[in-house]
């Protein structure tokens, strides 16, 4: 193997990395914003309010991300209504289609993580809030959500890494993310092993950095617990 091609094309790989990071960050932020109302609806005492997020989460966790991307990118253009609507400038761009698919997907997973965390908070804390006369809004804002945030961190870190790995699928709809860029370079140089391994190494480094960052935040967020660790329900 000849790794001089890696050196030669490294700047191009970094360009791809930048696109991958954009995809991940935008999807994770939007996904997190959508996930909270979905999670809260999922634990609603009203049956039909619970049913909608349940179906949503079940669909997006039960089907491959690749199908979801194709549904958004190729599927939406099947309908003339979509093509004539004001949404078309967005839906014809592969980048935004990837963002839409990733956001929908990650919001379903994140909603389950949030739900698990909210339900993991001991009943006594909810009762304590009621006893001191907090309103439901105050209870969520002051006690339940900050507590849930601490519990959620390890699983949420995992979800971000899964999203990073999922972002490689953007290359299937012509986006030049890290994987897409690697495939483009290979089409020119015919050195699949060298370039793919280099791309893999870059993904690995990003994963390790994310893990390290989350370990730090976790230590900070849960420092009031001392050495006690919280058990977090595994994501499916």
């Amino acid at each position: 193997m000849d790794f001089s091609v890696v050196v030669e094309y490294f700047p191009r790989l970094l360009e791809g990395t930048w696109v991958s990071l954009q995809l991940v960050v935008i999807s994770i932020v939007l996904g997190g914003v959508f996930a909270l109302p979905i999670a809260l609806a999922r634990i609603s005492p009203v049956g039909w309010i619970r049913a909608i997020p349940f179906a949503y989460i079940f669909f997006f966790r039960g089907t491959p991300l690749l199908v979801q991307i194709f549904l958004v990118y190729y599927g939406a253009s099947q309908f003339d209504v979509v093509r004539e609507s004001f949404l078309w400038p967005i839906l014809k761009e592969p980048f935004w289609c990837a963002i839409i698919a990733f956001t929908l997907n990650t919001s379903a997973y994140t909603a389950e993580i949030f739900r698990g965390a909210i339900q993991a908070i001991p009943e006594g804390e909810v009762e304590a809030c009621k006893v001191v006369g907090m309103s439901k809004y105050q209870m969520y804002r002051r006690v339940l959500l900050p507590r849930a945030f601490g519990i959620v961190l390890p699983a949420y870190g995992n979800e971000i890494i899964l999203m990073l790995k999922g972002s490689a699928l953007a290359s299937t709809i012509t986006i030049l993310d890290l994987t897409g860029m690697a495939r483009t370079i290979i089409a020119r140089t015919y050195t699949p092993m060298e370039i793919f391994l280099a791309a893999g190494a870059i993904y690995l480094v990003i994963s390790i950095v994310i893990i390290a960052i989350f370990r730090q935040i976790e230590l900070r967020q849960n420092r009031y617990l001392g050495t006690l660790s919280i058990k977090v329900p595994d994501k499916g």
């Binding site: 990073l164 999922g166 994987t179 495939r183 699949p192 391994l197």
Partner: protein
């Protein structure tokens, strides 16, 4: 009824390939997982180090990239090895073989952690009792340790299988004729992308539901020896 333009049979054939791929990868992955977990708990430092490198690398690289590396790389590697033995013809690795290798490696890396947790949760007393009864290490593993590890690891492995089932779609990128690729073919001839990808999505959903039912049945079976406390 939905009009599939005669592609229904094709999609079902794709589903068979998807299932074959998923089950073959599961088999490879379970073996790799058990080996990985044993290596991580081994007293030999080199084994621990290898297992650690294996899980870290595989879990940090996108599954799509693993599939691509194996598909394009296996040919190079195999030809280099065959070249050492004086075999110079072109060797091609099929999409199915590459898929099983890549998905098996991925499943194995995650299963290593599941098995390790399960192995560690078996009380030392169980090991001691087996040794006291005069069992050798292999018999002890098959009769005493493995059935208990299986029960503890099943929920985790079930989740991993659902992930694996969805990851099989990635192998369509290198041309395996699974559900996803059949859907692509149908789309390119009928131009009805939304319809066919939605049908594909519901086929995966159906496979997911069937797997979930099977796993919960197996979980019940594996813990039948336990009395409800």
């Amino acid at each position: 009824m939905i009009d599939l333009h005669g592609f229904g049979d094709q999609l079902l054939q794709g589903a068979v390939i998807t299932l074959e791929l998923a089950l073959s990868s599961l088999f490879v992955g379970l073996i790799l997982g058990l080996l990985g977990a044993s290596a991580k708990l081994s007293s030999v430092k080199a084994f621990r180090w290898i297992a650690h490198a294996y899980t870290t690398i595989i879990r940090g690289i996108p599954e799509l990239l693993t599939v691509l590396i194996i598909y394009f790389g296996a040919t190079t590697v195999l030809m280099a090895i065959a070249g050492l033995f004086g075999y110079d013809d072109y060797i091609e690795v099929g999409a199915f073989a590459a898929g099983v290798t890549a998905l098996g490696l991925t499943f194995g890396a995650y299963a290593t952690e599941v098995f390790r947790g399960a192995l560690q949760s078996i009380p030392t007393g169980q090991h001691e009792a087996a040794i006291a009864l005069g069992m050798g290490p292999i018999r002890k593993f098959y009769r005493i340790i493995l059935p208990q590890v299986w029960r503890i690891a099943l929920p985790g492995l079930g989740n991993l299988f659902l992930v694996l089932l969805k990851d099989t779609a990635l192998v369509s990128v290198v041309g395996l004729e699974d559900i996803m690729r059949k859907a692509n073919i149908a789309v390119s001839s009928t131009k009805q992308a939304f319809l066919f990808y939605l049908v594909a999505a519901f086929m995966y959903l159906a496979l997911t539901i069937i797997s979930m039912v099977l796993v919960s049945y197996m979980e019940k079976r594996a813990s039948r020896g336990l009395t409800r406390g």
